[in-house]
């Protein structure tokens, strides 16, 4: 798979759907820094599978509802 493939996500939208959860709150729940959430939302970072699962679990959704390949 080429390196240029990015993973799109709906984190920003889902945060707002979950009582306007802040980036810091999501970061604390997912066990990462707020800057990583910022980078994820901006599409500047592809998360590991573990982190993707943790974020999806935080929103109570399957992973494919939060992340998808941007082809």
């Amino acid at each position: 798979m080429p390196d240029s493939v990015q993973i799109k996500n709906k984190i920003r939208r889902l945060r707002f759907d979950h009582d306007e959860m802040t980036q810091q709150e999501l970061a604390n729940l997912a066990g990462v820094t707020r800057q990583t959430i910022v980078a994820l939302e901006a599409g500047r970072y592809n998360p590991s599978l573990l982190l993707a699962f943790r974020i999806a679990k935080t929103f109570g959704m399957p992973i494919e509802s939060v992340f998808e390949l941007d082809q």
Binding site: A27, N28, V32, T33, Q35, T36, R44, Y45, N46
Partner: protein, 139 residues
């Protein structure tokens, strides 16, 4: 700004301060060996891990997988550049002076190599850290 980024900026600031003190002194003294003593200022970089202790004590995550990836890439860059400098530092005199040239190296050069190696490794590592935090994907 991330804790790792703050530490990287701190190291770059210490490196800049060290060079700002050392270079003028070296020129004024005609690169006298005593001027090398001020490179000890770079030892202040050892205080970098103190940055971010408050956030850690507050229970906030201060280091995650993205930080780990950036740290690995930056460390690799730091050691790679050091290796390149070491190879050039050894091979360039070899090719210029020839294989049988008698060379006398004063003993103070050896500990100074450690100081300059630290400057290269930690300086490049800090620089790459700052660049990677501001750039795109690290995965």
């Amino acid at each position: 700004m991330n804790t790792q980024e703050k530490r990287a900026w701190f190291i770059l600031a210490v490196l800049a301060a060290t060079l700002a003190v050392y270079l003028p002194l070296a020129f004024v003294t005609g690169f006298h060996v005593a001027s090398l003593g001020v490179t000890g200022v770079f030892g202040l970089a050892g205080a970098a891990p103190l940055i971010g202790r408050r956030e850690k004590a507050a229970g906030k995550p201060t280091f995650d997988e993205r930080d780990s990836e950036i740290e690995k890439a930056a460390t690799l860059a730091g050691y790679s550049i050091f290796w390149l400098a070491l190879v050039l530092g050894i091979m360039v005199p070899f090719f210029i002076l020839g294989p049988n040239a008698p060379v006398t190296i004063p003993m103070y050069v050896f500990p100074m190599l450690l100081v300059f190696a630290s400057m290269i490794i930690f300086g490049i590592r800090a620089l790459v850290t700052v660049v990677l935090y501001r750039r795109g994907s690290h995965a």
